[in-house]
């Protein structure tokens, strides 16, 4: 199975159109909505985890693009400022997916974008503002 985490934003005229159900029904994809901000007549923004065969995921993403939506990988919206991080590990026990992890021998923290689901639990937990999520 192939998995992609993407952020997609769409213009007002598409807000009232069903999109997720088309991805599920027409492309046989599993769609997990990690976060969503959809306001009628304004822009909508969603963080999706799309799972399926590689070709189905690509076809689904093409469909979204053809509908006129902007699409980018989630990684671009999540920033770990390693220059601000002091490796205290305050974020480690709070991160549900181990996107923020610690090497127990060096006791240094690292960030694995591909595991991040943009839940934002690390934001209030980090005393050094080392995590930033633009959503």
């Amino acid at each position: 199975m192939y998995k992609r985490r993407v952020v997609f934003s769409y213009p007002p005229h598409l807000v009232e159109q069903p999109v997720i159900s088309r991805l599920v029904k027409d492309f046989d994809l599993t769609v997990n909505i990690l976060r969503a901000l959809v306001t009628p007549k304004e822009q909508g923004r969603m963080v999706l985890e799309i799972t399926g065969t590689r070709s189905a995921v690509e076809a689904g993403i093409n469909y979204i693009k053809e509908m006129g939506m902007e699409l980018q990988p989630l990684a671009q919206d999540v920033k770990w400022h390693d220059d601000r991080c002091i490796h205290c590990t305050a974020c480690i026990s709070i991160c549900p997916t181990k996107a923020l992890d610690v090497n127990r021998s060096s006791m240094e923290v690292s960030f694995h974008r591909d595991k991040c689901i943009a839940c934002e639990l690390c934001i209030p937990a980090c005393p050094y503002q080392a995590m930033e999520i633009l959503f």
Partner: protein, 403 residues
């Protein structure tokens, strides 16, 4: 064979001093034996890098023309109020001070993005900060207001002066309630879903000299990336607590007051810090060299994380209500390993004190000593120890009745 500080300093001068960090010495002593290690090793270096709220700095900003009496007036550095109850141009800026218009916890939990600690970090980084002042005029100090940029190199003195740092051990904080709580020990998830600790454990300065046999007034130290001194025991210094057989306190105990020239320090080792829902604080880097004067002192520096215990405390009820007792004891080995067991439940742990940075401090200090840049001092007086009769008191309230 006992050594003296003078003999160790001679070796440092010649470049022949044998120095290990408090982490390295564990294996060295295990390999050579304590007796031989005590003969061969001259200094063991320690380190800690964690949030330390009772920190601050005093400044002499120089006189304006015409003169102005900031003393008794109102002074702000980047909108953060400084204490002015001194002479004309001396100020004290506390790490936890914050701008008057910060909303605090009015919108809960507050973010506390800026305060005295951040001003200190910016000054140390060489940045300009805004000095804004208003005061009353006198015949000798007529000027009443001031708005200027100022930076560290323009000041006469800029001294970090922390009245309580480097706590010898600390609580492990958990939350037994059913809602998230925001504390100085970080964000604590409900029903024991996480546990936060705050000590460098086996690298922490006072853990390696548990009875204060070498650390005292005048001990030269690594402070904020520069050189500083121990001024004495810090506030709440409380040596007479439950200890292990090796003398290591099983809860918060000794503390240090320290000072040093801010102009020699670095923003890497003095960091403004924001605890959501709690406030602003300063994360301070401290490293203390322990002179190996005899076997007993060496033995103390070999303490390991699995021999250092901390108390697990509920910060939803017991801590705020000053209810004594703990939910159990855990070791730093468990804490650093990522999980502890509390009330039969496995709880993931997080640190607030950076072990990686503590290690870097101990290594840096080792390097300074090894290259003859840093010499040890003989303290004028050691810190009060368990026989000092110090008892840690809570405030005894004597309510004032309204007439």
């Amino acid at each position: 064979m006992a050594k003296t500080i003078e003999e160790i300093n001679e070796k440092i001068k010649k470049g022949s001093a044998v120095v290990f960090t408090a982490e390295e010495i564990i294996d060295v002593a295990a390999e050579k034996g304590v007796e031989k290690a005590a003969q061969e090793v001259d200094v063991v270096t320690t380190g800690t890098f964690g949030p330390m709220c009772s920190s601050g700095a005093y400044f002499n900003v120089g006189h304006t023309k015409p003169r102005m009496k900031l003393g008794g007036g109102r002074v702000y550095l980047n909108d953060v109020p400084a204490y002015t109850g001194y002479a004309a141009v001396d100020l004290f800026l506390g790490a936890t001070a914050m701008p008057d218009d910060d909303p605090r916890n009015k919108i809960f939990p507050g973010k506390f993005r800026y305060g005295g600690a951040y001003v200190i970090e910016e000054l140390v980084a060489g940045k300009d900060v805004k000095l804004t002042a208003t005061t009353y005029g006198t015949d000798c100090y007529p000027r009443k207001s001031l708005d200027t940029y100022i930076c560290l190199k323009d000041m006469n003195e800029a001294v970090l002066f922390n009245i309580r740092n480097a706590y010898q051990n600390y609580n492990v904080a958990v939350n037994l309630s059913d809602k998230v709580i925001y504390t100085y020990m970080g964000v604590l998830q409900p029903k024991l879903r996480n546990a936060n600790y705050c000590s460098a454990g086996q690298l922490s300065p006072l853990m390696n000299d548990p009875y204060y046999k070498t650390i005292g007034i005048g001990t030269r130290i690594f402070l904020g990336g520069g050189v500083g001194y121990v001024v004495g025991s810090g506030t709440q210094h409380n040596p007479d607590v439950k200890r292990t057989e090796r003398g290591v306190p099983k809860m918060g105990s000794g503390t240090l007051a320290v000072k040093g020239d801010l102009k020699t320090m670095s923003p890497r080792w003095l960091r403004g810090t924001s605890f959501t829902g709690y406030g602003v604080t300063l994360t301070v880097g401290i490293g203390i060299p322990i002179p190996i004067l005899n076997e007993e002192i060496l033995q103390s520096t070999t303490v390991r994380d699995d021999e250092i215990w901390a108390q697990v405390v509920d910060y939803s009820d017991a801590y705020p209500n000053l209810v004594p007792g703990s939910l159990g004891e855990v070791t730093y080995k468990e804490l650093k390993g990522g999980k502890i067991t509390v009330q039969g439940r496995e709880v993931p742990t997080s640190g607030l004190s950076s072990y990686a940075r503590a290690r870097e401090i101990a290594q840096t200090l080792k390097g300074w000593i090894g290259t003859g840049k840093f010499f040890l001092t003989q303290p004028a007086e050691l810190l009060p120890s368990v026989d000092s009769g110090i008892a840690f008191k809570s405030l005894k309230e004597r309510p004032i009745r309204k007439k």
